[in-house]
Each structure stands twice: as C-alpha cells, then as structure tokens.
Amino acid sequence: MTPPGNETETAPAGYRPSTLSALAAILAKDLRVELRTLQSVPAMALFAITTFVLFRYGLDRESLSGGLAAGVLLATVLFAAILAVNRLFVAERDEGGFDAIRLAPVDGSALLGAKAAALVIYLLVLEAIAVPAFALFFMDSWAGVPPLFGVLVLADLGLAATGVLISSIAANSRARDLLVPLVLLPLLVPVMIAAAGASRELLAAGGPSYDGVAKWLAVLAFYDMTFAAVGFAVYDYLLED
C-alpha cells in the first residue's frame, strides 16, 4: 500500500540539504524553542544585573573605570555565559531530538555550528542588556561603550568556540553542571586577558583610548580561529555514540 502524499514533492533518495541550510534549520529551531521557553537569556540577564549589584557592595565602589570596570564587566559576562553553555546540548539529550539530527543526512558540523551561532546570539542579546546596565550603574561617560561591543563580539566568538566543545563533552556525563564551569573557565583565561586588555583602554576614566587595543583584538581573533579549527577537526568524534 503506497504511503499518502504527493509523490513528486518528496526528494529522491540520496538528496541531501547543504550544510548551511541544515545549520539554518537547527538554529531556527533552537531560537524558536528559546523564544517560547525563555530559559537561557532572561536568566543570564538577571544574573548579570544582580552580579553588578554584588560588585557594587563587594568593591564598595559606585563608579568604575579602566581596568576595574573591564574586570567586573567581563567576569560577569563570562559567568553568565556559563549558564547558557550548560543548557546548549541538554535539551537535545533530554528531549531526545539529538538522534533525529544524527539520523538526517547532514554533516555534524551543521549541529555544532548551529549551537555556536545560537550561543553567540544569546550572548549578544545579553550584552545588549547588561552593558547599558553596567554603564548606567558605574560609568560617567558612555563614550567607550560602542567600541566595547567590537571587543565583546570577538570575545563571544571565542566563548562560543570553546563553549560548544566543552558543552558537547559534558552533555553526556554525570555532574554536567559542575563540569562545564570547571573545564571551561581555565580555557577562557586568554579571552579574559585579551578582552580585559582591550577594554581597560576603552573604559579609561578620561575617555576611550585606542592604545594597544589592536594587539589584543589580534589575540582574540587568533584564539577564535584556533578553537574553531579544533572544533572542525574533532566534531565527528563528539557526535558519535
């Protein structure tokens, strides 16, 4: 008995979607789920703002600039990112959608690329909320904020590259909530060093200076490329059962 449906509409056997269109499909699915359930981004934003308040009292400062401002902002963003990284693959594993993607004729890089893209988007949304909040709380002038986003974008790419790697390792293990911060934070130290190095100039008390920012951006770019390359090299082994 032939199955129903218009025969001419189905794809012939052996046709595969391009990796990019598969990536777009998975990314769209993830964003739709996130918009519907709002599990990652609001938590990250709330966490960031509360952490700023903690720092205000912890450091006993009402105004921050230069290195101190860079440190507080970046440390907060880094820790908020961990919240999102923890959740990246959990939904796939728990809700069982993972095998459906593995059964489909798509390359594994589409899945990892989609997760990395989703993480970058969540981080950008977080920063769109947290950075103005930070400026409101602690900064006298907002002049350094727009160029700061340039630094943050590069840092987000690095966070995504390593975050996806560690998240896919941890997703399958016990104590995954503990494992992600434990393994990811040392890996992110160079991101912190470089991003803070650039940010402290941009957030300097007397107004942004661009002294030496380029070299830190170069380090960030190098970090991003290195771990993206590692991810490309090993993704097949991460997705096997």
Partner: protein
C-alpha cells in the same frame, strides 16, 4: 534460499571458550552475499566496555522483506537497531546497510532510513507540525514537505492537533506523530521498535497501513509480541540474552511456541 542456522546444543560451552581466547573477532568476508540484500550482517559484534552485547550476528535481509527480531530483555535488540540506523558503530564484523558499509560509508545510508524507537525524537516545546517541518528541512525535502506532512497528519488523524505543543499531547498522540516523523522522508529501510506502544487498537489500526509491508521498503521489526512479529515477518532473527543468535531463518513454519523456546522466553 536463505540458510537457516540452527545451533547445536553445546553452543554455550563454545561461546565461553571463544571469550577466553579473544574478545574481538576478526571479520570473515561475507559468508552470505545476496545481490539484492538491503541488510547484510556478517559476524557482527558490539561491546560496551568489556561486555559483549551482540555476539556473532549474521543474517542477510533481502530487499522488500520484513525481518522480526525477537528475544528477551537484554538480548541486544535495541542495540542492533541502533547499529542498523548508523547511530552506533559495530565493534567488529561486516555491516552493510542499503549497499553502504558501516561505519565508513554511513553517510551514504543516512536519509534513507526511518527509525521509530522508544524515543519519539520530538522536541516537546515545539508543536507537532513544527517538529515535522524541522525534520523536512533536515532531510532536504523541497517546500519543507508541506503537502507530505499534511497527508501524513491526515492519515493518523492528527491534523487538528498538529499545532499544539508536543508536551501537551498524550503518549498515543506523540507516538502517532513519531510515526509521521519516521516516514516523512519515505525511507527505504524502516526500523521499528515496538511500533504499537502507547497506541490503543483504533490508533494502531490507523498506523498499521503506514508501517506495513511495501514493495520498495525493507522493514526490521523488534517486538515482544511474538505472534504479531511472526505474522508480519518473512524472516526471524531470534537473539538470546547476551546477544548471541538463537535462530536466523525463515518465519514460515515457525510457531510462536517454537520461537519462544528458542530464545528462552516464557511460553
């Protein structure tokens, strides 16, 4: 004619000796080669750590036929299905599915296999229709397979509830959606693990024609319902607890009682 492998009574002793000498078996060139076989397994072994879950499984399944996989719990039936679905790689042995050797050429077989397992593989925070559209995009169906999705939903009587989130649906409805998902891309090989679970008789009747025998389609059916399995199947693969083959051969002439006795189930 397919070879029927009935194993001698002292099989268990020989298994123990084989374990003591070497855990890994070297694969022979396929002993049975059928020109039109959809599935060819030759001495398939699968281990988890040091524990063997499938031992020396050999069978050839011709195109368009149905093989019922029977066995008690722990016999490795689900593992076998996952290996055939290219989700798990064999520890050793020759595995050919749809003309592609696994695991090297697994990518060629993907997209032509449909799996209906214990997990519905649906995202609970998406609606049924959204899940199916996502699947269609993953399989590269043109136009997101809109017409095919509509047709399948109609067949399983889920059209009206296709826009509700999966987490709000009953298990039977989820299973019906899972059937649609498995069939969406018109697979040449259908892997079914207890397809009737969660389905009341009415729903099972809706689903049966979709999952039934079809000329261009080979089926592997894992079931605890021996009568159902024997009725549907041309071939039977009976596994014993521990994953070794108790019987691999034609289904005709085999009664339910025989089958249970072979794999050690309760009559």
């Amino acid at each position: 004619m397919l070879p029927a492998c009935r194993l001698p009574a002292d099989w268990d002793n020989r298994t123990l000796m084989a374990d003591a000498t070497s855990v890994q078996q070297r694969a022979d060139p396929a002993a049975t080669t059928q020109p039109n076989a959809t599935i060819e397994l030759s001495r398939l072994w699968r281990e988890f750590g040091e524990r063997a879950v499938l031992r020396d499984v050999t069978i050839a399944v011709p195109a368009g036929s149905t093989v019922a996989v029977l066995g008690p719990n722990g016999a490795g039936k689900t593992t076998l299905l996952r290996i055939l679905a290219t989700l798990l790689r064999p520890t050793s042995g020759d595995v050919q599915v749809l003309g592609s050797r696994l695991p090297q050429d697994a990518w060629r077989a993907r997209g032509r296999i449909g799996l209906l397992g214990h997990d519905p593989l649906l995202y609970r925070d998406l609606s049924g229709a959204e899940n199916l559209r996502f699947q269609a995009r993953l399989h590269g169906l043109p136009g997101e397979g809109a017409q095919r999705i509509a047709g399948l939903l109609e067949q399983v009587r889920m059209s009206r509830r296709a826009d509700e989130l999966v987490r709000n649906l009953s298990a039977g409805m989820v299973q019906r959606l899972a059937v649609c998902r498995a069939l969406l891309h018109e697979p040449e090989l259908l892997l079914l693990d207890e397809p009737g679970s969660h389905l009341d008789p009415a729903a099972a009747a809706l689903v049966a024609p979709l999952l039934g025998q079809s000329p261009g389609r080979t089926r592997v059916l894992v079931t605890h319902d021996v009568d159902y399995g024997l009725a549907e199947a041309d071939l039977v693969l009976a596994l014993k607890a521990g994953g070794s083959v108790a019987y691999a051969g034609a289904a005709s002439g085999l009664s339910a009682g025989d089958a249970r006795a072979i794999y050690g189930g309760t009559p």
